[in-house]
Amino acid sequence: MIKNFFKNIFVKYISLVITILLFVAFSFASSSFATVKNMNVILVGRVTVGFFALASLIPLIAGEFDISLGYMIGACIMVGGKLSTLGLSDWSVLFFTLLTGILLGVFNGFLTVTLNIPSTISTLGSGMIMYSISLGLCGGKSISNVISKDIVKLFRANFLGFNITIWILLLVAVLVFYLLELTPFGKQIYAVGLSSRVSYLAGIRIKLIRMMSFILAGAIIGIGSALYLAKSGNAYPDTGPTYLMPGLATVFLSITTYKIGSYNVPGTVISIFMLGILFNGVNLLGAPFWLESVVNGLILMAVVLMNRKDSRQALQE
């Protein structure tokens, strides 16, 4: 009984176990690793990736793959930057950054659900358009001082030793968890993603559900982008695409934890920690800068391999 209990924990929370092991190992290897300050640095660096992962999680559960989300971050940020050069106030810049995310989500939903284009194609196309927006808005140049110093200071403040944006990310994660796991809407998203045919015959509004998954993804990207602007104060046109691979690695890793075999919020949150600790630790030990991309790519492939039915069942046995 007790043995089973631990076995279950081990299988269900394998990545949490790995995270703790990594944490312990790096603490021994480097004295500067296990400090609140260093943890804060690690997590601040993962906040935008975290928003990306939470955003792409929802369409993935609904059976859609939104590739445009990385570019969407760039587009949101540059729209915010452009608006600030037009003289909008700080708070309205942040609001419109968020709104841009929602509108781009509606656009993706329109292409995929209304026009019925497969999501990998429609979001690849819309992603390219968003990339052009982020480059074209300011002629490819970056914009500094988008947000005034006071507000940047506000968002760089710490609460209980950790940056405010980390707490906001956690709050959004909790909300998404509630939405997906504890509301009828969440049950329907899972059902539509697993079998849209069964869901349709059961009377679920599958088009609405798929549409909402894109809009929610856009909204979360909008929040992430607004926080990025508020914390850094500057807007760089190249920001978006760099989040694609680490973000996908994070969300794909989530299927190894909590709800094995399906994308989920607790798994995503643990993955954010795990990858953050991993990359920070090996950097402290002096690993080369290009290692991160290699690891991200390997994770994507490894997770897809693990997600094959037979190996997944073997895990659950």
């Binding site: 509301t183 009828p184 015959l201």
Partner: protein
């Protein structure tokens, strides 16, 4: 040269698909193989085409011309032995021309490394001349009639020259099932010509009319056993149908242990009122047209259990989809609870107007295997259970008790781990949960074990007593005799007959379904 199978038995875990079957197919004759669903017809075809092997210890022997073997190990070997098959599914690619489709199987003739279209056209015309097919190779296959497509499929299967010389037997595996009767006859005239070349033809079919008109002799399979063989001239449709019918499926004492809960308890717990009594029809269709449905008129009253039967192209396949809102009607009036159903109905709007449909083909249409039992049962009704975990726990406890879902204690087990019968009982519960005023069941007992089938029928009767109007479609129509209060038979998209009271016998139903 004759083709023979001797002592063929095929077993799957828990099922004997064929038991000690021996048959002989003579050159120049068309042999019909008939039987109800699950009688072993397609297993026999798969043994002959190398898909299944007979049980190793049954002493099987397959004789094709002068070759004798214990089993045929693969479709490629079957083909090299001269066994040709035309399947129900067409081998033709819709967007290709006839010539290109033939080339997929025979290869393209080449000249200077390029495709020689002239030679291809000539090859195709030569091929078609053998089988007396008059079709232009440049036509797109989607522009052909169904019988032309079947003839070409047959020509491709048989081939010409060397391939044709090697042909020892032609098998038609329900090749005529998806085409209308008149078209099928045109096709069968061509089949006769092939038999006349001295090739034995095996025709697996559901159509008794075609059997009586085109075949020389007939084999009837029933539950994996060969129960009848004889010359067509010495038999009759009625005799064949009586042989095909399943022996009475032990109308046994379905373990009548008392249940703790009833459907009424379930609806009370959910605060759903059972339908109010009315003498009016709760569902009616008047002069409805859609796809194969051609001017259909019928109606159902509260508490009635109506069975709808018919052969494949009678409209019986489309009707449940039309009732459930998946297919739309093009003309006519369709009313649920006296209210006209919009021409733009969807499954959702139909559900809201009080009709629930249990669709056929459970794995595809009604169950989500990676979700839990609970999530599957509560799927269309999650809003009732939001933030009410005690209610959902109680409801699941009642559901597993009422419908005998086993194992019922673990409602968070993956749905895919339950057996087919238990899945189907759970899906039945899922739809009855919302207490529809009309409940349509499309093939509710397909692939379900006998005990679960009894339980399903029992619950259908209980729902009918609670004033739910029931409509049942089934691919094993004889079973409907046990449960229905009235049966209508469709033919050519219209109601062609009605069975009530004493007329409602298994024999009468079978006659409407197989003839």
């Amino acid at each position: 040269m004759a083709v023979q199978v001797k002592n063929i038995s095929v077993s799957f875990p828990g099922v004997k698909a064929l038991q000690n079957v021996s048959m002989e197919f003579k050159p120049g004759q068309i042999h019909a193989v008939v039987g109800a669903n699950g009688s072993g017809k397609s297993t026999l075809v798969k043994v002959l085409t190398g898909v299944y092997k007979p049980d190793s210890n049954c002493g099987s022997e397959i004789i094709i011309g002068d070759v004798s073997t214990k089993s045929i190990d693969s479709p490629i070997i079957a083909s090299s032995m001269g066994i040709r098959v035309v399947h129900q599914e067409s081998p033709l690619v819709k967007t290709f021309t006839v010539g290109e489709c033939v080339a997929l199987f025979e290869g393209y003739p080449k000249r200077n490394g390029k495709i020689d279209w002239k030679a291809l056209n000539k090859n195709v015309k030569d091929l078609f001349r053998i089988y007396d097919i008059n079709v232009d190779p440049d036509l797109l296959t989607e522009d052909l009639t169904a019988s032309e497509r079947n003839m070409i499929a047959m020509a491709i299967a048989m081939g010409r020259d060397e391939k044709l010389k090697k042909t020892k037997v032609l098998i038609l595996d329900e090749a005529d099932a998806s085409i209308p009767e008149a078209e099928a006859e045109k096709f069968l005239v061509h089949v006769r010509k092939i038999a006349d070349m001295g090739i034995p033809v095996i025709m697996v079919t559901h159509r008794m009319k075609s059997v009586m008109k085109f075949c020389d002799d007939v084999f009837v399979l029933n539950d994996g056993k060969l129960v009848y063989q004889g010359l067509i001239s010495e038999t009759s449709e009625d005799l064949l149908v009586s042989k095909m019918m399943k022996q009475d499926d032990s109308e046994s004492k379905a373990n009548a242990q008392a249940k703790k809960y009833t459907l009424g308890n379930l609806w009370d717990a959910l605060n759903i009122k059972a339908p109010e009594s009315t003498n009016n029809e709760v569902l009616s269709m008047t002069d409805v047209y859609a796809e194969n449905i051609d001017g259909l008129t019928f109606s159902v009253k509260q508490g009635e259990i109506l069975g709808i039967i018919g052969i494949k192209d009678s409209g019986v396949v489309e009707l449940p989809k039309i009732l459930g809102g998946e297919l739309r009607i093009s003309k006519g009036s369709y009313k649920i609870n006296g209210k006209e159903v919009s021409l733009k109905a969807t499954p959702r709007s139909i559900h809201q107007s009080g009709l629930s449909l249990l669709p056929c083909d459970r794995p595809v249409n009604s169950s989500i295997m990676p979700l839990t039992l609970k999530d599957n049962v509560l799927l269309p009704n999650e809003f009732r259970f939001w933030h009410r975990s005690t209610l959902s726990k109680n409801v699941m406890k009642m559901v597993t008790d009422i419908f005998d879902v086993i194992p019922g204690h673990d409602i968070n087990m993956m749905f895919g781990k339950f057996s087919g019968g238990n899945q189907q009982k759970a899906i039945l519960a899922k739809w009855l949960l919302s207490c529809p005023s009309v409940f349509v069941l499309d093939d509710p007992t397909y692939g379900v074990d006998p005990a679960s089938r009894m339980r399903i029928f029992e619950k259908i009767r209980e729902a009918a007593e609670k004033k739910v109007a029931i409509i049942i479609f089934s691919t094993e129509p004889e079973q409907l005799a046990n449960v229905c209060s009235r049966i209508i038979a469709l033919r050519n998209g219209k109601v062609a007959g009605e069975l009530k009271g004493d007329e409602l016998t298994r024999e009468a139903i079978a006659r409407w379904c197989y003839i």
